[in-house]
Symmetry: C2
Subunit: 336 residues, 2 copies
């Protein structure tokens, strides 16, 4: 298996991307293609004593930045490392593409360069997130601000297949993010989504879930439009960060508190790890016709490695075929 990696995506590129990719290569036995400035990649590897011998490099000096308008990936920015990574994926030079660069760019590239699965209306940005115990998937986490109910129904299907085959959750429970648990909660949009989800025989829909229950064991796949999903994703991170900062402040406040902190250090580290996004590497872009994985923008080597582990599982699971089949079956059913 060969994974194409954007060596110049994310806050810590290229060093942490290269490091994490090499760790993944060693640990998982995968082959790599780096996309980016060949000289810089070689220099960076040399300076840090990293062996990149035998790894193919697709050279370009251009980088797609966080400030770039996502839609420019197709024309003005078509020679950036992200765009060329998608191009290489499309041409079949690798089995998957991963980048820690702009999420918007990744969604555009997945949709318009890698292309969508036939019959799928929109790709979804689907981060796997920590909860009190374990994890859940949020779908859509921000690719589509405005959705139609049929899209939410597709997100539910794609998320379920991914959670089952890649993350190992049998018969994953799908819940709709809503303002209450009753069937009729929310506006017209949520009501229409509810009816479609309820009628979908290919998913295990458990109904509406309240935002308060998301960090607990509300559901395995939480579906909503991308605007709501992005608010959930970012608020989740923000509240956790604010609280962790407060606790850090307490533990540094006095000598006595510092002593107390030292006594619970191991457990607090484990706690931090259990609430850490980076454990799950990032988010698959579901609905693209080839495996595309968005690595966390702030990823360091270990997160990059985790992300590539999931990217490998994504490829091996062959879920794109499953999704294609489901869409076909649905269309056949609707025609009959």
């Amino acid at each position: 298996m060969k994974i194409i990696i954007d060596a110049f995506g994310g806050d810590n590129a290229p060093l942490e991307i290269i490091k994490g990719s090499l760790d993944a290569k060693k640990e998982l036995g995968i082959d790599l293609i780096f996309v980016g400035d060949e000289n810089k990649i070689k220099e960076c590897a040399k300076e840090n004593g990293l062996d990149i011998g035998g790894i193919e490099i697709i050279h370009t000096e251009e980088v797609f930045t966080m400030e770039d308008d996502p839609t420019t990936l197709l024309r003005a920015k078509k020679n950036t490392s992200m765009a060329l990574g998608f191009k290489a994926l499309k041409e079949g030079r690798g089995d998957a593409f991963a980048s820690a660069g702009s999420s918007g760019g990744m969604v555009v590239g997945a949709t318009l360069i890698a292309k969508r699965i036939k019959g799928i209306k929109r790709v979804a940005f689907a981060p796997v997130m920590p909860k009190a115990e374990g994890f859940f998937m949020l779908c859509d986490g921000g690719a589509n601000n405005e959705c139609r109910p049929e899209m939410i129904d597709e997100f539910a299907l794609m998320g379920s297949v991914y959670m089952n085959k890649v993350m190992g959750i049998k018969n994953p429970r799908v819940g709709q993010a809503n303002v209450g648990t009753e069937d009729t909660k929310g506006g017209q949009f949520q009501n229409d989504c509810f009816n479609l989800l309820k009628a979908n025989e290919n998913i295990n829909f458990i109904g509406n879930i309240e935002a308060r229950d998301i960090p607990f064991d509300a559901a395995d796949v939480i579906v909503c439009d991308g605007f709501t999903g992005n608010v959930i994703l970012k608020l989740y991170e923000g509240v956790a960060m604010a609280l962790v900062n407060k606790i850090k402040g307490i533990f540094k406040k006095s000598l006595k508190n510092k002593l107390a902190a030292a006594m619970v250090l191991g457990d607090m580290k484990e706690f931090k790890k259990s609430m850490d996004y980076n454990e799950y590497g990032g988010a698959p872009i579901l609905g693209a016709s080839k495996p595309v994985f968005k690595i966390h923008g702030s990823a360091k080597a270990n997160t990059v490695k985790n992300a590539l582990k999931l990217t490998k599982a994504f490829v091996e699971s062959d879920i794109i075929k499953d999704i294609e089949e489901s869409v076909k079956n649905k269309e056949t059913k609707e025609e009959n």
Copy 2:
């Protein structure tokens, strides 16, 4: 000043409501009217050694429950303590009405019994919430799942007036909850709201804010539709609860950890207090033509007292007149 109180609203009614109200009466020098079952109120007071002598009671045995459809407040449930509280408010028997009962009921009562301020399209549920330092207002926190941009513009105005005059925040910064900080972020709805907010000379609009920044110092008044606001409100609470539970678990894990917990106990209590909703008592219902305050459903006596303190400030601020004036001025301007 006389405040009408639903003695049978909330999880801890009537005891904690009565207790908190009596504390408020003593501390703030306000007069009270209790609405609810007279015998039960008297019994409860007697059993708990509370002196309710001289307090007027509007008697009814019926209670508006959390399971009741909010719209039934007008007819089928018009004799519940909540409905009769609103009726008494409308008739001028008190200066404000407060209840810890159903938020949906409170919104319906404020809209259809107390009635909206002339020219205001919708009332908003506007909780004041804790952030890393201090507090902010969320408006709308869930009264209106679906909004038009003009409503968001009104929420911004009403929230600003409240934060200024009741909460003492000079020139409060208004931000729109969105998926990014750039002016054009979000869908068509957020773009339309942005333009209206930007053109509004009566508020201090600072632009779009990302959900990640809400727990920090993003803005003093955060506006959005009630669906998004309710998700923010409840997720905020859920994530904080999940993290606090985890930390509690760590502190109880071993003898060593229990010892560490004892060492930081005072600071942790202060931390918990700083993140506690109950400090702010609940949420005003903005846009009603008389002061209406929703007390936290889980309020105990101290929270009830805090809520009545804010209700008193709400009455004294005379902001309903300010809002009326602003609406009139706007209409005059638009006509010219």
